[in-house]
Structures are given as C-alpha cells and as structure tokens.
Symmetry: C2
Subunit: 227 residues, 2 copies
DNA sequence: GTCTATAATAGGATAGAC
DNA sequence: GTCTATCCTATTATAGAC
C-alpha cells in the first residue's frame, strides 16, 4: 500500500512534468502559467506545489533530463574513431545529438527556447555549466576535423557549430512542421547529418553560383542515406 | 514648429519600437513587460500608449518591417535565372534571406521566437498570411531545383527548407554568439549559403561515415567564398 | 495529496491633470 | 506627449481544512 502510494506519487509528479514540458515547449516558459500546467494535468494550481517546489525548478528538472541524455550520447559518439577522418566522428555526433533531441523534443525546446531566461537566472547556473561542457566537446571535435582536413578549411568551425545547433533545433521544433511535416518519420538524424556534411547539391555539381554546373557524378548513389 | 513637433513624434515612436525590438528579441514577447519597454526608452508605461495602441500591435509593427523587406529581397532573388541550374537561385535566396535577417535581426527574432503566440492570436493573422506567402516562394524554388536535378534527389525539399529556416535563425540569434562570435562580421550570408549548398566537407571527400574517405580534389579552391 | 481561500505581486491598460 | 494615479486582471505562491 505504501508502495502503491509512493508509486502513484511518482506518476503524479511525472504527469506534472510532462504537462509542463508540453506547454513550455509550445508557448515558452513565460508564456505558460502555473495555472495552465495545473489545468493540463487536471489539478488545481496549489496542488502542483506538492510535487514541485516552484516553476523554475520545474524547468530545471526538464532541461536536466535532456542534458543528461545528451552528455551520455555524445560521450559515446565523440570517442576517438579508429583512425578514419575526424569528420566521420562529427557525422556521428550530429546523428547522436539529433537522436537525443528527437527522444526529448520538449525538453530540448525548454532549453533552447528559454535559454536567455536560464542564462539570466542565477538559480539555473547548473544548466548553463552543463551546456557549456557539451559545447566544449563539439568545439574540440570540429577543430580536430578542421585540422586534419576532413572538414573544409575555408569556414571556421564555430560557424559550423552554429549551423549544427540551429539545424538540430530545426529538426525538433514543431514550428517547422507545417513546412516539412513531422520530422520524426524516416531517419531525420541521418538526413540532417547527410545534408550538413555533404550539402544540398548532388555531388559533382558546381560549388557556387559563380561557377558553371559540372556534369560528372551527378545523381550518384549515396550510401549514407540508404543504410 | 508643427513640423518639428511631428518629427519629434516620429522619433519617439521609433525609440519605442526600437526598445521593444531589442527586448522582444532578447527575452521574448511574454518575457517583456510594457514597463520594461517604457523604462528602456526613458518613459513611464502610460506614455507608451501615445505611440502604440497596445503591446501586440507593437509586435505586429516590428514583424511587418522584417516581412516587408524579406518579400522585396526574395522577389528579386527568386526571379527566374537565365537558364542556369535552379540551385543557383536557391543559393541566391539563401543569401538574400540571411541578408535581410541580418539587417533586421531583432525583427526577425520577434517573428521567429514569438511564432506560436502570433499563430494563436487572431488579431495577428496578417503576419501569418504573409509568412505563408514567403514559404510558398521557397517551396516552389526548392521543388523546381529538385526537379531539374540541381539539388540532390534523395532528400525532400521540405527537409531542406526546414534546415534553411533553422540555419537562418542560427545566423541571427545572439544566443549562438558565445559559440561562434558575432555573425555579422565577414560574409555570414555567403558562408551559410556555401555550407548549406555544398556541405561541411571539402569537395571530393567521402560522402558518408560508412564510406572510406576519397583523396581527389580535397582542399580545392572555393570561389563561392572568395568573392 | 488535493482542495478552498487568500495573500502578495506583476502586468496591461485607462483617466485626467499639466 | 508625458506625467501621476488608478483599475482590473493574471500570476506565483502559501495557509490550513479535509
């Protein structure tokens, strides 16, 4: 009985977290009231405080879930590859990051869309520190790939990281669903990794608007997407 | 005298809009109070209402600026190119879109970061309609490029559009400045266009982690970035 | 744990003097 | 046009009964 009570309690807390995740992701932290969250899980606002100390801790708990999963996934994919080009590691990291973001889409958006609030709120400094650690892993991988020539040398790694972060957001954010449909069908992580690493153009085409289109190799099979 | 009064009035309204743009872009619409905006331009909250009817109209006016400029820029760059591959038009559109977003960064972020509020607010339906028109121009260009083979055929145009929109956001959003530094140095529009169209890898490299790296053409000169 | 009731504050907007 | 004063609502959070 005591166990069942405890179990029910965990479920209730989980429902609160889930409702908050949904609303924070959709309307943002400031666009969501405690009343909204309570209503979404069939409780009165005051009852929420039996499960969560306050609104900002609710946000922190959600973001921590995502960051924990991301750290674990990056630890695996950023491990030194067996001698191949570092760009392959970058590709694995893109897949891993997008995979985690798709498994925790609401939590990812909580972090991403409420970032300035998180950054400005001293009690959420832990989140900032952990995100910084993730960023450092990325920077190291991109710089190494730039150094060994497996990423193009004419664009700085920081610009690439900017694109990686933003594009990951783009895969997850439902705001873009009306453009592209739900992203979690097919293999969005693989699609994004292929687009970012190899670009929109078929291989063998001209590399800029100022150059005539080439003809060789256009439409070649792309094993990276077929796997 | 009457003219000077009118002129001062325009300036005051402009200061209000500018302060609001700054705060909406940084903290979001719901994260910014009318009091915040008033304080930022040295006014009392009630004085704002001499310049703007209400808070949501303030948002609408800002977003309209951006959308107007974007429509003009896309109209030019999406015009039919002279027989070259349609991907070149796409590249021009990326440059144009990023260029406008960099000229109106705060207004762009007002639209992007407050999108769900805009979408949910009936009085802002005009903004939604105009953004839809922009989206339609993009879809047409991407589909045409996919059809004539100048964009890779194994990724649907909608996924590419998703990446374009998200990456554009990434260039503008100051949130990423701590990763990559300010984006408005150098030629961010050209850099993004090159990254998206041609990818992170040097041309001639392997196209996926599952394939051994090639050796031909690595490090070739890229006129698209040197221009 | 959930409720009702209630603080205590923050927010959007208006009235009317100057 | 800007101000002070004010209204009304929404919001976060707590107190205490059940």
């Amino acid at each position: 009985m005591a166990q069942q009570t405890a179990h029910a309690s965990v479920d209730a807390r989980e429902r609160v977290l889930s409702a908050a995740a949904e609303l924070f992701a959709e309307r943002g932290y400031h666009g969501t009231s405690v009343r909204d969250i309570a209503a979404a899980c069939g409780l009165k606002p005051s009852s929420l405080y039996s499960h969560v100390p306050d609104k900002s801790t609710l946000l922190a708990d959600l973001v921590m879930r995502y960051l924990g999963a991301l750290e674990a996934a990056l630890e695996a994919s950023s491990a030194d590859p067996g001698g191949g080009p570092s760009a392959n590691r970058v590709e694995e990291m893109v897949r891993a990051s997008v995979g985690v973001a798709l498994r925790y889409p609401r939590e990812f958006l909580c972090l991403s869309n409420s970032w300035t609030y998180i950054r400005r709120t001293p009690s959420l400094a832990t989140l900032v520190a952990r995100r910084d650690a993730v960023r450092a892993v990325w920077q190291r991988a991109l710089r190494e790939a730039a150094a060994d020539g497996s990423l193009r040398a004419d664009v700085d790694p920081e610009s690439m990281l900017r694109v990686v972060f933003a594009a990951t957001h783009g895969v997850v954010d439902r705001r873009y669903d009306e453009i592209a449909g739900p992203a979690d069908e097919g293999d969005p992580a693989g699609v994004l990794a292929a687009l970012l690493l190899d670009g929109f153009r078929p291989r063998g085409r001209a590399v800029s608007a100022t150059v005539r289109a080439g003809t060789a190799d256009a439409g070649a099979v792309r094993p990276g997407l077929a796997e």
